[in-house]
């Protein structure tokens, strides 16, 4: 089992390791297939800062992603709770209908969505960025499916204790479902941090640039500096890794200890 896990872990880490090593090498060395750490980290960093406004992009990405993750997880977990705890056939049907919303490729709705957001005057804004993915059928269903194993007795007990429905959600349900929330935050943050096409068409002002847009810009020239790109990719990857690293212990602890 350890062997299997070690192989899986190595295969998983290898490209990231390669990216990290490449960030310390010159472009020519990367093209030539170097596998050893180099001495170009500082040059790459200076070049990157000269070519692009990394600070602005990072702050924008962080603000957009954190706000979107917070709002989206809250809205969708409320909905998943509503669907499952107050389960009814009609709600099942509504859920199935909502699911249809995630089955159309984004390219097909991009232009109408752009019209919608632009007519509301929300270009270059965090709200415009957030709106299309503030509620996703996927995240609602994710909560609904995970709540299925939530012990209903806890809710009944809380009702007998006189808590109202909203308090039950915030005081009983949320703390109990830590593992589910940890997973939801991780995947939502990751998606929000990496989304490219949508900010690309609504963020027209250079002051609204995000990290994925910045990386796309770096790859656009006649001469591609792979060392600089790899450094930018590393910077763009770190927040997601950190978030996962801090949240991952909840995946394993979960609710087992808190029931009864």
């Amino acid at each position: 089992m350890y062997v299997f896990l070690a192989i899986a872990a190595f295969l998983s880490i290898f490209p990231l390791l390669w990216t990290a090593i490449s960030a310390t090498n010159s472009s020519v060395d990367i093209i030539r297939g170097t596998m050893l750490p180099g001495t170009y980290l500082l040059q790459n960093l200076n070049q990157l800062l000269e070519m692009a406004d990394v600070r602005t992009a990072f702050i924008n990405s962080a603000r957009n992603a954190v706000l979107l993750t917070f709002c989206s997880v809250l809205i969708c977990s409320l909905a998943g709770y509503g669907f499952e705890i107050y389960h009814s056939k009609a709600k099942d049907r509504v859920m199935s209908m909502l699911l249809l919303s995630m089955m159309v490729p984004f390219v097909a709705v991009m232009i109408p969505l752009f019209q919608l957001v632009s007519n509301m005057g929300l270009l270059d804004s965090t709200i415009g960025f957030m709106l299309p993915t503030l509620a996703t059928a996927f995240l609602v269903m994710f909560f609904r499916q995970n709540i299925r194993s939530f012990p209903h007795e806890m809710i009944e007990a809380a009702r007998i204790d006189g808590l109202n429905e909203i308090s039950i959600f915030f005081r009983i349900f949320m703390p109990t479902m830590k593992s589910t929330y940890a997973a939801a935050i991780t995947i939502t943050f990751m998606a929000a941090w990496n989304v490219f096409l949508w900010p690309r068409i609504i963020m027209m002002d250079p002051a609204s640039i995000t990290m994925p847009m910045l990386i796309s810009n770096l790859t656009a020239g006649y001469v591609t500096d792979f060392g600089v790109i790899m450094l930018a990719v590393m910077i763009a990857t770190l927040p997601t890794i950190l978030i996962f690293f801090f949240l991952q212990k909840y995946f394993a602890e979960g609710i087992a200890g808190t029931i009864k």
Binding site: S12, S101, V109, A135, N146, T186, F251, E253
Partner: protein
Amino acid sequence: MQMSERAITRKPKLSLAQKRGLTGWAFLAVAAGLIIWMNFYPMVRGFYIALQSGVGANMQFAGDLNFRRLFADPQFRQTISTTFLYLVVQVPIMLLTALALASMLNNRNLKGRGIFRTAIFLPCTVGLVAYALVFRQMFAFDGLINTILINVGILETGHNWLGTAWSARLVIILGLLWRWTGFNMIFYLAGLQNIDRSIYEAARIDGANPFQQFWKITIPLLRPVILLTAIMSTNGTLQLLDESLNLTMGGPGITSRTMAHQIFATAFQGNPNIGYASAMAFVIFVMVAVLALLQMKVGDKR
């Protein structure tokens, strides 16, 4: 009718049940409203675009022209079969591997769980640009994979992985497995926490080996989450764009190009034909919806 049905099966007091039902609707109203506003409304507009042809300000109503055109389009047909190949090969392997990894990492006695979990999750955090570049280099003619295969003696001379149709598709499948297995593992790990450990204890006492425990306990109890990941992966694969666009650029020719890539190319690469691209998107929509309904029918039992 639904009301009375629920009243019979659930709660004896009708008024309370009604009140609870309304509370439930209130909980989900915001999300449902946003999804209708931000997803269904643009979808309907998109469908309206699919009934038009032309470019820019010169779009004209064309009825089912774009849809009739689809049936005569050899490129779209080819991308459909390529995409389904990815779906059929990749999704089952990925979900089973993710399940196996998750149940291994759920073992409390395993040392270094945090490290393994983080490592296996890492691939989906890696930026697309870097990931595509690494894979292209590994599978280049003088790249790492050929070097290893030649040295081990499996190959005599290098194989042109990205230049041959079947192996370019294989590289895409490997890329997908690499990138998304850890991602799916997260769902299973979170889901496994909700399973009472005493069930496993009881099974072990009854003499069930780990493999039997996996098939008889883990899979049935995780069914809601497995259903979720199956729908999600099916959906993701049928809408697959990134790998096709960045890893193989759809090549050689268009042999590894996906449906979504074809839509993207039709809409934004070269001469834009938004109406036709929207029509293709609705064909994908119908296919995903039908598959999702089938999966719900099989998997969503209470």
